[in-house]
Amino acid sequence: MTDLPGYPSRRSFLKATAAGAALSGLAHSASAQQTPQPVSLDDYQREYLNADEWAFIMAATARLIPSEDDGPGAIEARVPVFIDRQLASDYGTADDWYMEGPHDPDADPARGWQTPLNPAEVYRQAIPAFNAWCEQTHGAVFAELAAKQQDAALTSLQKGDVVLAPELREFWGILLANTKEGYFADPQYGGNHDMQSWVYIGFPGARAAYREWPERHNVKYPLGPVSISGERA
């Protein structure tokens, strides 16, 4: 028989036994490597968001992808870190977007970004406005509401029941989109911590080699994901 490389063969097993227990770990396991844990979200050094905005993002993303039930939530996946870092980057400043007018707040959503504000400015102006609405409607800023009230407030925001300035009309859309992106994007951007969302949905990440698998119907692909920077889970 042919010995597979790296797998202990019968002969190497015998050798290892003879040599004693010290050699028992001949081949490393391919499972996840130990990565140092990052700072907790409470100690995280924010790059763009201020304290009130951070409290809002923490609370809102935790309701959009909650931690209850199965699978990681936005907090475990460190989605708020992703959003903070994106807003500090060229996404937040819309560096490579067409930002000249005309901006028509009544335009069909399919016609794209219809505000002179960049995403970072939208967050900066919309969060206090939405918090004011929450105080008025539910009696406290969003982060301090009970989960049920937060869900109700977000539903109102989604339905357009929260009256915001016309240039803030993209707020709900980017809040939801950025939350999903932070949950599923490669971990190098700060979210999807330890590739938890990929493990949860069975996405194998940046491996790019499944030629032999498309025709294996109803067989679960067993190998965990790899990130762009090579982390294994």
């Binding site: 042919t2 490389p5 391919a30 030629r211 790899v226 920077s229």
Partner: protein
């Protein structure tokens, strides 16, 4: 007593005289293998072609410098040797050299004025070139190469290698062969291949082993060590003959395609060989590359089947490569994607499998196969580690214009991970080579950091 002292004194004096003679008496230069007629003229283009076939440009051109104006640093075990300016500039080049002086440099390693050249200049091999070619090369350089004023850095090796007259003794060991070409006579094509391989191509300079005195152990077909593989600057120059060599494993057209384009159905040229293809071999005729391939194939008496053509232009069918039982076993293990697979296999799955595939066969003409790949399984692990860390590039050639490029993985894998991966590669698909340590990887990483 007096007699004894006289004898000692006499011997000492004789010794001093011999030493002075050794240092100062000019060396006899070799006569041409064949006297050319007084009115002999090279064929049009012959000199330029010899320049390509001899790969003068690769060594005699500095990084970003004028072609042939010298100044490239050539690493040797003795220290850095700086290549000379061989443009016909009278002050800094070879403009004042007579043809006899030029021939002496080519076949005896002696520069104008009697200085011994360091054998980084492959005069051991150029010694086998035909008089006509040396003459054509001289005429071409003198008449058609523009003189470039470029004073190159002088070579200063450490004692005792700074004493160039010592090379005179070295040459007694290294230059035991006659000047000129001695064909085996198998066929005209194979003889032409033999000439290009032995002489201008100076393949033995890397692909023959070295004697304890650092001379080439095998400069021509009649020598046992000829092209049996060497190690140069930490790279394996694989054997080009014998069992397991590419010459025996690959058909003639694949050998020729590798020479002409730096790629074929099995592999991709790398390192020094990539430079040889880029600067020299791609400029040779198809017939000459085929001749060298045929010569190598038949070197140990194997049947030589000549193809009609190789590396054809236009759409070419590239059949998927087949693998053997050992290859299939490793492929099956990788395809199973079991999380308990060894770390090396996991790293291969995460980083390499997209191009080199589960069977390690790569893709013909693009991605090299890793099974029985000499760079993967060589005694020297530095090149494999370097390719994983820094990537590799084979520039486009006339017949295959696409640049082949592999990215580096230095940021994606640690030294320990690369050691696991490299060790695994050296045992996968039936490969049989030793392990690589994280220290080996750290050494290569540090060396490539400083470049």
């Amino acid at each position: 007593m007096k007699t004894f002292l006289r004898i000692i004194g006499g011997l000492a004096l004789a010794g001093v005289i011999a030493l002075l003679a050794f240092i100062f008496v000019p060396v006899q230069v070799s006569k041409p293998a064949r006297e050319l007629a007084a009115d002999w003229q090279p064929e049009p283009g012959q000199g330029e072609y010899v320049l390509h076939a001899s790969d003068c440009v690769a060594c005699h051109t500095a990084e970003g410098g004028e072609p042939l104006a010298g100044g490239r640093a050539i690493a040797s075990p003795m220290g850095t040797i700086w290549s000379t300016n061989i443009t016909p500039d009278p002050e800094t080049g070879i403009g004042d050299w007579s043809y006899e002086e030029f021939r002496a440099a080519m076949v005896d390693g002696i520069a104008r004025g009697g200085t011994h050249l360091y054998p980084a200049m492959p005069y051991e091999n150029y010694r086998l070139m035909k008089e006509e070619d040396i003459r054509a090369l001289y005429d071409y350089i003198m008449a058609d190469i523009a003189p470039v004023q470029n004073e190159v850095q002088e070579t200063h090796l450490k004692f005792p290698f700074n004493l160039r007259f010592g090379i005179r003794a070295w040459n007694w060991l290294a230059l035991t062969h006659d000047v000129g070409f001695d064909p085996v006579g198998t066929s005209d094509l194979q003889d032409r291949g033999q000439y290009l391989v032995e002489g201008p191509g100076h393949c033995a300079a890397c692909h023959s082993p070295r004697t304890p005195f650092m001379a080439q152990d095998g400069v021509s077909t009649s020598d046992d060590g000829f092209l049996t593989g060497g190690v140069i600057d930490g790279w394996n120059a694989p054997a080009l003959r014998g069992e397991g060599s590419v010459s025996q494993a690959w058909p003639v057209e694949q050998l020729a395609a590798y020479l002409a384009t730096g790629r074929n159905a099995h592999s991709t040229a790398n390192g020094e060989m990539g430079l040889v293809v880029e600067h020299s071999l791609q400029h040779l005729t198809d017939e000459d590359n085929l001749a060298m391939a045929a010569f190598l194939k038949g070197l140990d008496g194997a049947e030589v089947e000549l193809p009609k053509s190789f590396a054809a232009t236009g759409p070419t069918p590239l059949p998927a490569p087949e693998t053997d039982a050992a290859g299939k076993a490793t492929a099956a293990m990788l395809i199973e994607a079991n999380p308990d697979m060894p770390l090396g296999a996991r790293l291969y799955s995460d980083n390499c499998i997209g191009c080199h595939f589960a069977n390690g066969k790569g893709a013909p003409g693009i991605f090299p196969e890793l099974q029985n790949n000499h760079l993967v399984t060589g005694s020297e692990t530095g090149p494999l580690i370097s390719v994983i860390l820094n990537g590799a590039e084979m520039p486009g050639t006339a017949k295959r214009p696409m640049t082949l490029r592999m990215q580096g993985y230095r940021d994606r894998m640690s030294d320990e991970e690369i050691a696991e991966l490299a060790s695994w590669l050296r045992k996968a698909w039936g490969n049989e080579a030793g392990t690589v340590t994280a220290t080996d990887v750290a050494t290569v990483r540090a060396a490539s950091d400083s470049h």
